[in-house]
């Protein structure tokens, strides 16, 4: 069973990345024991890599700033977080890390990548149901990526680490719903596009659905259920948004549904809707509709409601297609 888990596949990718560049160091709580979700398990099996694995005490406030210091000394830190929620505790340090290269006039690059499980899946409720990703998009200098499909999860890890080497601090959100699932039969080795690019994953001309993270499989299933020829776009990079591509996609059909995890008010979906209203209003044939998760806080037993249900998304798609 463990051989087929997505987490094992990601652990193998992490080990490959560590082998490929001796500047990379792996940082986080429990990383010497494989990490909370097993992402450092393969690294720890390779004696040649262990010296670059840095288990840390519980230091959520400073972990990102500490990693920036490692970068300042010439390393390429990959931080495995227990969850994106840890970055709420470490937001001030993350902001310093994201600013550090700018602050030094570009003289100190910070090739820092943070791998952050997010969303529902472990039945914890609380912060897992909130919109941490939207908060991160407000940190200047930070790239925020979000994996959406299991077959691309490994490629996302590779792309995020490589992106950080060139573009600086990068957070990759890994939906727990994906991490807890099986490894796909034919995983992509390579994203085949820049990780900052929005990407059409389903063709259609009746309307366009924008989604990311754990909402992407929901959106694809909802299009099938609604029986509408809808294009589905994986937003993928939440900061900086791929505005030009996203606006082109909006103009293509003029009927837009934005499907996202977490609560509706504020955040990335609101930003997208405002952008589309600004840049594509003359091409729109229907209201821009957002479909998100239930309002937090959510108890553990209701955690799954943080992601919109397929039926609700299908209803929105049908309504906008007929508008």
């Amino acid at each position: 069973m463990s051989d087929s888990s997505l987490r094992d596949r990601l652990a193998a990718v992490v080990a490959d990345l560590m082998r490929a560049d001796a500047r990379r160091v792996l940082l986080g709580e429990d990383v010497a024991d494989g990490g909370m979700l097993g992402l450092s398990r393969a690294v720890m099996k390779d004696a040649g890599l262990r010296a670059r694995v840095c288990p840390t005490p519980l230091t959520p406030t400073v972990l990102a700033a500490h990693a920036a210091g490692l970068a300042a000394a010439g390393h390429h830190p990959v931080v495995v977080l227990p969850g994106v929620e840890a970055l709420l505790e470490g937001l001030a340090g993350l902001r310093e890390a994201a600013n550090w290269s700018w602050r030094t006039g570009g003289e100190v690059p910070v090739p820092l990548c943070l791998l952050a499980p997010c969303g529902s899946g472990l039945g914890r409720g609380g912060m897992a149901s909130e919109a941490m990703a939207s908060m991160l998009t407000l940190v200047p200098g930070l790239t925020v990526l979000c994996a959406g499909r299991a077959e691309e999860a490994g490629a996302w890890v590779r792309a995020a680490v490589e992106h950080a080497a060139n573009a600086g601090p990068t957070v990759l959100l890994l939906p727990r719903r994906l991490l807890l699932g099986a490894s796909p039969r034919a995983p992509s080795e390579d994203l085949g596009r820049p990780p900052t690019a929005a990407h059409r994953v389903r063709e259609g001309d009746a309307l366009t659905v924008f989604a990311w993270g754990e909402a992407l499989p929901v959106a694809l299933a909802a299009v099938d259920l609604a029986g509408v020829e809808a294009a589905v776009v994986d937003v993928g990079c939440l900061a900086p948004l791929d505005h030009l591509r996203l606006e082109d996609e909006a103009r293509a059909t003029g009927r837009l549904v934005i499907v996202h995890p977490g609560p509706g008010p504020g955040g990335v979906a609101a930003e997208l809707a405002a952008r589309f209203a600004d840049a594509a209003i003359l091409h729109l044939d229907a209201p821009v509709v957002r479909v998100g998760g239930a309002e937090p806080p959510l108890s553990p037993s209701h955690e799954a409601a943080a992601t919109p249900r397929v039926e609700r998304v299908a209803e929105a798609i049908t309504r906008i297609a007929r508008y």
Binding site: V25, T56, V62, L70, A73, G74, A92, E96, E107
Partner: protein, 305 residues
């Protein structure tokens, strides 16, 4: 000599109030005269900047010893992450005064006014989040250890930072990751009682660090020789892979109008005078040199405005 409220408890000193080496202590190889010149220059710089109206400026007069000593001890490739009131660092590390003054006034660089960082001189910028520079510095030390460079990394803060979450977490990282880190903490002396913001918890910061398993020393900031040699010991331990050292330096701000022997510049002057190495002429020459350089720097600043 009787102790007074101005003399810190449990802080090591090598020079007594009159500037005499005590109990068979030695200089330990310190070039006392060169060190003294830098302390005088640091004082002059601070007084000049204090008068110049830098926004949010806080004087470091009386706190020069740990600043100048750290800048002298850190090798050219070793980084210093300081926490403010640190312009003397840049001066000792060789930043031209026109650049230094322009940075302190926020005309150069990307820091808020009052700071003078320089990656070229291995002086890291400040963080906006309180005490977060300690974490970046600890990470830097971690990087030096992983790369096996044998270099120490220096972080500095005031004791007010010792109650913050980053300080506590950095102690945990330093102890558990065995970092080649030198932590220089400036603890103010409060003869009339400390305000809440001072971070004084009824013990010394050195005691707190020691309780975390770190090598820690408390030293009198009015004694520049003891400050220098203790920070040098911490640096040497770090370079040899023996882990983090915290030096808790009890400093006396001149803003409190302390007795003269609490002034580190005056203490070292008394030492040099006792050895026949100080004269009013020597003092005049040292002060005139730094005054002329400061005049030129401020003149350039006005021209560029």
């Amino acid at each position: 000599m009787d102790t007074t409220p101005w003399d810190p408890e449990g802080a090591a000193a090598l020079l007594d109030a009159e500037g005499q080496l005590t109990g068979g202590a030695t200089l330990g190889g310190v070039d006392a005269k060169g060190y003294y010149k830098q302390l005088v220059a640091a004082r002059s710089l601070d007084l000049r900047l204090s008068r110049a109206g830098v926004p949010m400026w806080a004087s470091a007069a009386g706190e020069e010893a740990p600043l100048v000593a750290t800048a002298r001890i850190a090798q050219a490739e070793e980084w210093i992450y300081s926490g403010g009131r640190d312009a003397a660092l840049a001066m000792v590390r060789g930043m031209p005064l026109p650049e230094l003054v322009a940075r302190v006034f926020g005309r150069e660089g990307r820091e808020p006014p009052g700071r003078a960082s320089s990656p070229a001189r291995r002086i890291a910028p400040a963080t906006e989040a309180l005490a977060m520079h300690l974490a970046v510095g600890a990470g830097h030390a971690h990087g030096e250890r992983l790369a096996g460079t044998g270099r120490a990394t220096f972080v500095m803060c005031g004791e007010g930072s010792s109650t913050t979450a980053p300080f506590a977490e950095v102690l945990a990282l330093a102890a558990s990751c065995d970092l080649p880190l030198v932590m220089v903490v400036r603890s103010q002396l409060w003869p009339n009682g400390a305000p809440a913001e001072a971070g004084v918890l009824g013990d010394s910061v050195a005691d707190r660090a020691r309780a975390c398993g770190l090598w820690a020393r408390r030293v009198d900031g009015a004694d520049p020789i003891a400050v220098h040699n203790t920070i040098a010991s911490a640096a040497e331990r770090a370079r040899l892979g023996r882990g983090t050292g915290l030096v808790d330096v009890v400093v006396t701000s001149l803003a409190h109008d302390p007795p003269a022997h609490r002034d580190p510049v005056e203490r070292l002057r008394r030492f040099l005078d006792g050895r026949g190495e100080w004269s009013t002429t020597f003092q005049d020459v040292v002060e005139a040199d730094v005054r002329a350089r400061l005049d030129q720097a401020f003149s350039q600043l006005e021209d560029s405005a």
